[in-house]
Symmetry: C2
Subunit: 313 residues, 2 copies
């Protein structure tokens, strides 16, 4: 009665560490298709991609680094502004000020309300027009999920991001799934700009879709955010300044020496391997499962991340 077997894992990290071992032990008991382990083990180099360092943010905390992939195809102005803010060191020494259970982690200038001590902006913008959705471009890759979506006409993945499309309105937009990063705003739709950002740490709060500009997704280091102590003030704000979690800096990866960058690869969401992965999660072939769902909701599709393999010389 191994504890490890009691309920199966999300598997992604463990599988990536040992996918080649597991593949050789692929069980014959579930004949309908490969497990996720087998899909990963059979994947080819072209099923993966690196991160563009110009569109990758590093949030540097005392506990480690959170890696965010930015989404310029969906929020070009916010992405450009967030990079400009990083490059003028806007966040250096600011802090995570809010952690609300099953909802969001948020960082900001704790003194934003105090004109004399609020962090100044040099070249970037404080606010921007909303980028809640963008025109539907049929040329953008889109891997549609087969089982529908409660909130949108269709949901799927585009360029590594969870996306909905509406052919009637001709729009597409990013979705508030776990790990997605957005730009907080006040009541005016155009009052955000990226000075305050939040990350989803709970069940996908899809009612926020098209209400706030999403601009990226955490691809590594989620646990540095999701395991933070919850704030005890209204909406999860930390009540005492000493409870806040300092942000040492937020860097654009391209500005960090190459030797200090994270060498990550993301599974491409526009290749057959990713569709096989989706199918391996719709119908779980691991021996533990008694019932195969034959369905999947977008929040339950993982996007695998791995360390870039070092090329043999």
């Amino acid at each position: 009665m191994k504890p490890a077997a009691k309920i199966p894992g999300l598997d992604v990290v463990a599988l990536l560490l040992s996918a080649h071992l597991l593949a050789s032990a692929a069980e014959p008991a579930r004949p309908k298709g490969p497990t996720m382990a087998a899909v990963l083990a059979a994947s080819k180099p072209g099923d993966w991609r690196g991160l563009d360092p110009e569109n990758t943010l590093y949030v540097e905390l005392a506990s480690g680094r959170v890696v965010i992939e930015l989404a310029p195809a969906f929020a070009p102005r916010h992405v450009a502004n967030v990079k400009a803010l990083a490059r003028e060191h806007y966040w250096d020494g600011l802090a995570i000020v809010r952690v609300q259970d099953n909802y969001v982690v948020q960082w900001a200038d704790p003194d934003a309300e105090k004109p004399e001590s609020a962090r100044k902006i040099q070249h970037a913008q404080r606010t921007l027009p909303a980028e809640f959705e963008r025109p539907l471009d049929p040329k953008l890759p889109f891997t549609r999920l087969p089982d529908g979506d409660i909130y949108a006409g269709e949901a799927g993945f585009s360029g590594g991001f969870p996306v909905a499309r509406d052919k009637r309105t001709g729009k597409m937009w990013l979705l508030h799934c776990y790990g997605m990063v957005g730009a907080g705003r006040d009541n005016s739709p155009d009052s955000g700009g990226g000075t305050e950002m939040y990350v989803v740490i709970g069940h996908a709060p899809r009612h926020l879709d098209r209400n706030v500009t999403l601009l990226g997704r955490v691809v590594q280091g989620m646990e540095l955010l999701s395991a933070l102590p919850r704030g005890t003030g209204p909406m999860g704000f930390y009540e005492k300044p000493e409870q806040r979690v300092a942000i040492r800096a937020i860097h654009v990866a391209a500005d960090v020496p190459e030797s200090e960058r994270n060498s990550l690869e993301i599974m491409r969401t526009d290749k057959p391997a990713f569709q096989e992965l989706i199918e391996s999660r719709r119908n779980r072939r691991e021996e533990w499962y008694q019932v195969q769902a034959n369905r999947i909701e977008i929040g339950n599709v993982p996007i695998p991340v791995r360390q870039k393999s070092v090329e043999p010389r």
Copy 2:
């Protein structure tokens, strides 16, 4: 530019603290219906219920108490066994051994594999037949969600729990939403029994539905579980014994002196007030929202909890 306004909160706790204040400030700007704050403020005593101390578990940690409402209507044998285990002090001094990000927290006997040091069971059962689903009883209250469900024919709430029903198979079952509590098992469906339990701390892993016995839901103290450090071993197991989080005891609330019990009330899920609450979450009337979803997925429906008000003498 108040940080507090940057993105709105889940609100439940904050609203319960100040619902009477907020109600008087109910905004006229969104005329289509009341906000959740207004629904709560307008609720009547009969819209709420206490917890049955015979079907409530207290998980006592150094950091505080996690309160679990048990679901005897869905897992009667597991509930009875878990209570028997609590009453023979099975868990006293055992530990949380696994915290997997966006998935589960799990407690168990870390020495379960070692015959000489494994915790002995005196009167309870080590394993039980699976209780993955139960016969659909149309007499059980069921508040159906209007917008469907990706995984099941219909989803809604029964007795305070998220539930699916399938009229074709004549079955109903509990759903793996945030905070739901299950009994881990090995590969055999009848290998669980409650000695190891897990709690969902991420996006609802609905592929587990009908694959494992759910037996309750955390109604208070989720943050004592969800903010724990993630385990770094495969599937989120803690790699070193000293990382484990000790369980002082698990008690049936009825066995705790009344003065030491939590005085909680849960909003009834079978009253019109709860349907109004669902509608207030399908279409958010708070001023911040630009787009009303007009849809809701079961994982985004909160079940409000409040401190029982003290009767004036």
